[in-house]
């Protein structure tokens, strides 16, 4: 890797902490961002000449602060301070005094600003990718298959909404911190799932989403290493992403979990996910992410689909139902029930969900599959046709079409 690439990497990995500190200092996202950009530009000018600083983050914060202040002074028509030659070192001790216990809340605030509940999901993700991950507008636009101009607009809109909503710059109390952590975790999980449910082509475009979500989850774990749900979130993402290589076959068709080639699963990711889950469990504070991760872990530990401990999966879904009841959880549980006690009981379980899930692709897909198992071809066909109408990707539609074809063959 050449020197410039190494510097780029140092800038990218310093971004969350530096941006967070600058946001706290300037209390304005745009100012913080411009200050950080300016600091990066100066880094790329000065580091090749003078060598990289011992602490790139502190350097960027200090130079960013000066750059932002300069810019403010210019706007107020005051004498421009020329500190471009001022030694950076004497300012470094100030940067080091930036309270380390605060930076955790700073980064949480930065993530929370991006994952602000007032923003629609797509804006949250776009903003986080731009502000925290440092992806360019072009890169983000490619991920969402929109034009860079459209993405630029989306991000500007998001920033405006945040400026209007206002950001809390006081140090959060425990309850606020927990609430922010919750919102940030949701945003990260949303980013992750956006990277799925797509064809291999869009999967390639969206690959960065899953990777960035995992990177942000790791960042969060670094800030809150003992928070069980944060550990659970990282575990869940790793365990799910480990299966990514097996999700599509050579022809771009969806491969269901029970048919996936388990040799293609990323074992290192599974091992790491399991360790994170065990670490979370040690705290004896179960939560939705931990439960979902535990379910994913059971699949990952089964050498073959037939070895899957469906009874344990059923129990975990029941716990999840109690914790965060939702028709989708019950639908997922029904799959486990069908493996344990047959399709009839599973159908009975999902029957009451019809009203709530009538617009949900998976509901009709699962029901169709269960009816097919019971040999009720006409009813199965009806469900599967409704599923096709709701498919959001070519791969999903193809999968249902294959199910329909196999019905005809019966």
């Amino acid at each position: 890797m050449n020197e410039e690439a190494r510097f780029d990497l140092a800038l990218m990995s310093a971004r969350p902490r530096a941006m967070a500190a600058l946001l706290r200092y300037f209390r304005d996202l745009d100012t913080a961002e411009e200050a950080f950009q300016e600091a990066c530009l100066r880094a790329l000018q000065s580091w090749p000449r003078n060598g990289p600083p011992r602490d790139p983050t502190a350097w960027l914060i200090m130079v960013g602060r000066n750059a932002g202040l300069d810019s403010k002074r210019k706007h107020h028509n005051e004498t421009e301070l020329d500190d471009s030659n001022a030694p950076i070192d004497e300012n470094l001790s100030l940067a080091e005094r930036l309270d380390d216990s605060d930076y955790r809340d700073d980064i949480l605030r930065l993530l929370f600003v991006c994952g602000h509940p007032t923003l629609p999901a797509t804006q949250q993700i776009a903003l986080a990718l731009r502000i925290v991950s440092g992806l360019t507008v072009e890169q983000i636009a490619r991920v969402f298959l929109v034009s860079p101009a459209a993405m630029e607009q989306r991000i500007t809109r998001a920033k405006r909404a945040i400026a209007e909503a206002g950001v809390e710059f006081e140090t959060p109390g425990a309850a606020d911190r927990a609430q922010r952590l919750n919102a940030v975790s949701s945003m990260i999980y949303l980013m992750f799932t956006e990277g799925y449910g797509s064809t291999p082509d869009t999967a390639e475009a969206r690959g960065p989403l899953a990777d960035e979500a995992i990177r942000l989850a790791r960042l969060l774990v670094g800030l809150f290493p003992s928070d069980p749900e944060t550990l659970g979130l990282l575990a869940l993402l790793l365990l799910q992403h480990a299966r990514a290589p097996a999700r599509f076959d050579r022809d771009g068709q969806i491969v269901l979990l029970e048919e996936q080639n388990r040799d293609a699963w990323n074992r290192a990711m599974i091992d790491e996910g399991c360790v994170m889950l065990e670490k979370a469990a040690r705290h004896r504070e179960p939560g939705p992410y931990q439960l979902q991760a535990a379910i994913a872990a059971i699949h990952s530990r089964a050498a073959t689909a037939a070895d899957t401990d469906w009874a344990q999966i059923d129990r975990l879904y029941q716990a999840l139902e109690r914790m965060t009841p939702s028709p989708v959880v019950t639908l997922n549980r029904a799959v486990a029930v069908s493996k344990l006690r047959g399709a009839e009981e599973a159908l009975a379980l999902i029957a009451p969900l019809e009203a709530k899930l009538s617009g949900y692709f998976y509901f009709h897909g699962v029901r169709g599959a269960l009816l097919k198992q019971l040999g009720r071809a006409d009813a199965a066909r009806e469900s599967l046709n409704r599923a096709i109408a709701l498919a959001s990707t070519v791969a999903e539609a193809d999968h249902i079409r294959r199910e329909l074809d196999s019905l005809v063959a019966q």
């Binding site: 890797m1 690439a5 190494r6 990497l9 140092a10 990218m12 990995s13 602490d55 990177r215 790791r218 774990v221 670094g222 290493p225 003992s226 550990l231 990282l234 290192a268 091992d271 790491e272 360790v275 994170m276 670490k279 040690r282």
Partner: protein, 118 residues
Amino acid sequence: MQYVFLCYHNEKEVFAWSKEHETQVIEKLLAVQEKLAQQGRLGPVARLMPTSTATTLHKNREPAVVTDGPFAETREQLLGFYVIECKDQEEAIETARELGVANPGGAYEFRPILMLQR
């Protein structure tokens, strides 16, 4: 004498490496390892999972306390280690340099092993 080579690197950077870059670094390291193995000098090689998977038992207090995370929060983290036979300090330094060329950034701390038991 057997030395342990402790590999310290900025974990956030390492995890931000592209797959291509990661593959390149690993290939270069493997080349150095191959050479050491052929010389009969290479012992165990370990690459550790991220520090998010670390747990620490603090036994400097009573009762001992288990915490999540590595022992120390540092700018560079322990990411792996080698055990390599070196005839003297000079050879150890040279070996560290060779590994460092394959994998620049961070640091290698190398220290003689007093006792190694399998």
